[in-house]
């Protein structure tokens, strides 16, 4: 995103979404195996499993696509 920097905002975004997605996905799997007593409305749709999974995939994609190693390689190519 910017010259002179090895870490892009998109890398931080990917890291944020990836870590949150992993935590939510893992919680969703646990809740599926051990259903809670207090359930949210439309618990049957298991939103935390698929939404956490989507965030995890998007996060991993951004983190890898804009990883520090790739950014360094890209800037070396530009200079």
């Amino acid at each position: 995103m910017k010259s002179g920097s090895h870490l892009s905002i998109w890398f931080f975004t990917g890291l944020c979404l990836g870590v949150n997605g992993a935590l939510i996905f893992a919680t969703g799997i646990y809740e599926t195996l051990y259903p809670p007593v207090e359930k949210v409305v439309r618990y049957d749709l298991h939103a935390n499993v698929w939404w956490g999974g989507i965030l995890l995939i998007v996060g991993v994609f951004f983190s890898l696509r804009f990883s520090p190693a790739r950014e360094r390689a890209r800037m070396a190519g530009n200079s």
Partner: protein, 586 residues
């Protein structure tokens, strides 16, 4: 116990689990880490105050939008959609899209070509120090107060939603914001705004998805709202799901406004003023790396802005359709915040309009998802504070210190002072937060005050850019007259509520309708006074207006690019989608 029962039987809306707390802590660690990382890249004035002017169109565009997408905005407009129905979507569509496109395609070339650091800086180039002084002092004063109000609002929300201690919320958020803005300057604020943009969508998008499934789609939602409001004997229940068809008369809709107030007051004055002259948002676009990026940034922002009603307006409408008392099955009717958050209101378990978003969040989001939603709200509040503080320091250093106190300050000195005043800006904000805590009604006054300056400022900047005959005396007297007339109308209605019939043309006008008409009148006062005084005084010679006035400024041609990289093409696409949305929800 059913969580809906728990909601109504407890003093706090939601209860966080371990994984929710982990998500919140991770967010705080990440933003502080980003601030530390960016410190090395904020060494010059351009770096610290303008993020090096090297942001891509996407980063500048998302930051431009996020600077306006704070949690006060999200919760407030979700509450307004519960109160006024889909009419609240006007603030996201006609109240944003045309003005964002106008900024991109008409005004941005002037801001960018004259290389100003701020909107008051443009006023200095165009009109001289009089208009700049009025604009910069009022802006600096208001931004730091707004930052404090964000801080206080966050503390109140965290207390109501999570039961957190208010001092804890104020100090933790203040220290975090001071740290990451003082370290990385505007670049740090922009990084966190982009992060906040993704967090808000990740945290809030599930509400409309699951809500529409529960309601049976859009038609099911409309039917449920009609049924519920009819049951409550609310007048014009059908008007809550129509955008334009009820605006023929003041008394046919829940806002008490007509189409003229929406089109001229909101679309042509308030929105134009906010999106084109409020330095808080314009500063993000000025950080773009070139003119094409600066033109594309507001268009990218506009494209996403059109989708925001999905996560703000729809949850409010879903609240109208779906919130029922799990004990009795009766409808839950949300009430104004001052009633809900009073001791009596809390004792009765009442909820304010602005709580509709957290209520819907708690309805659908279990552990993990709830933490993400709460983190999105915290990020929105902190981003609002950081945006205000970074804009405050830029205007303070460049337009007040650099003009009136020390014209020869070195770049190094400005950066040093910028870091110091980031800290002091946060300290003043904390003071403002505690003042607001002692007198909550001050929040309404300050937010109204902010709007006092925006509409006349738009008149001053617009005439300055498009009319070379406007003179320095015309500029500052018009700005002052417009601002004073707005304050005068506001005070008149406060002292004599019957004055609403003159200011807003109808006794049915609610607060938002009054704001629209007041803005329209004060804009007209500003324009008329500027024109009259300009004709009575001597204009600047053309040679002094180069690069600041239309017709005297050579606008650089955007280099030959494919149609998919052309701002005009994407501006047209956004405009067409905007029109289609108006027709769909007519």
């Amino acid at each position: 116990m059913n969580p809906a029962l728990l909601l109504l039987s407890s003093n706090t809306l939601v209860h966080l689990s371990g994984v929710d707390i982990a998500i919140i802590i991770f967010y705080f660690a990440l933003v502080l880490g980003i601030g530390l990382y960016l410190k090395e890249q904020a060494n010059t004035g351009e770096d610290f105050f303008m993020a090096g002017r090297e942001m891509t169109a996407w980063v500048a565009g998302l930051a431009f939008l996020s600077a306006n997408l704070g949690s006060l905005e999200l919760m407030g407009w979700a509450g307004n959609s519960y109160k006024y129905g889909i009419l609240a979507a006007h603030w996201y569509w006609i109240g944003a899209i045309p003005s964002m496109l106008f900024l991109a395609l008409v005004m941005m070339p002037f801001y960018y070509v004259c290389k100003t650091h701020s909107v008051p800086g443009y006023l200095k180039l165009r009109y001289g120090q009089g208009a700049q002084a009025i604009s910069s002092i009022s802006f600096a004063f208001m931004t730091v107060l707004m930052s404090g109000i964000n801080m206080y609002a966050m503390a109140v929300v965290m207390k109501v939603v999570l039961g957190w201690n208010m001092h804890f919320s104020i100090w933790v958020s203040a220290i975090t914001v001071a740290a990451y803005v003082a370290l990385g300057g505007l670049r740090s604020a922009i990084f966190n705004e982009v992060l906040q943009f993704f967090l808000i969508w990740a945290g809030a998008l599930l509400i409309p998805i699951l809500g529409l499934i529960e309601a049976g789609g859009w038609s099911g939602l409309q039917a449920k709202i009609l049924h519920n409001l009819t049951e409550l004997n609310v007048p014009n229940p059908g008007s809550y799901t129509h955008l334009w068809s009820t605006l023929g008369n003041f008394n046919n809709n829940p806002m008490g406004i007509n189409w003229a107030g929406i089109v001229f007051g909101l679309g042509a004055v308030i929105a134009m003023g906010y999106w084109t002259t409020d330095f808080l948002v314009v500063q993000r676009v000025l950080s773009a790396k070139d003119l094409r990026s600066a033109e594309l940034a507001p268009i990218i922002g506009a494209a996403f802005k059109m989708m925001v009603p999905l996560i703000v307006i729809l949850p409010g409408l879903l609240g109208l359709a779906l919130l029922r008392d799990p004990h009795t099955g009766g409808l839950i009717r949300l009430v104004p915040a001052n009633i809900a958050w009073s001791d009596a209101g809390q004792a009765q378990g009442l909820h304010g309009y602005d709580e509709v978003l957290p209520l819907m969040l708690a309805r659908y989001c279990g552990p993990g998802l709830l933490g993400l939603g709460i983190t999105a709200l915290i990020a929105g509040f902190m981003s609002g504070m950081a945006g205000n503080v970074s804009a405050f320091t830029t205007v303070l250093i460049y337009d007040i210190y650099g003009v009136f106190i020390n014209k020869n300050a070195t770049d190094e000195k400005k950066v040093k002072l910028g870091r110091h005043w980031t800290f002091w800006g946060v300290v003043i904000s904390i003071g403002a937060a505690y003042i607001a805590a002692g007198k909550p009604s001050i929040m309404d006054y300050v937010q109204s005050l902010f709007s006092f300056f925006i509409a006349p400022l738009f008149g001053t900047v617009l005439l300055g850019m498009l009319w070379k005959r406007a003179t320095p005396a015309g500029g500052w007297t018009g700005l002052l007259a417009g601002t004073l007339s707005s304050i005068g109308m506001y005070t008149w209605v406060k002292l004599d509520p019957n004055a609403v019939r003159y200011v807003a043309l109808s006794m049915d006008a609610q607060d938002q309708a009054q704001n629209m008409f007041r803005a329209l009148w004060c804009f007209l006062v500003c324009v008329i006074v500027t024109v009259v005084v300009s004709y009575l005084t001597t204009p600047k010679p053309d040679s002094e207006l180069k690069d600041v006035v239309y017709g005297l400024t050579p606008i650089p041609k955007v280099q030959h690019v494919s149609i998919f990289h052309n701002p005009l093409f994407w501006g047209a696409v956004v405009a067409i989608v905007f029109v289609i949305l108006q027709i769909i929800f007519w």
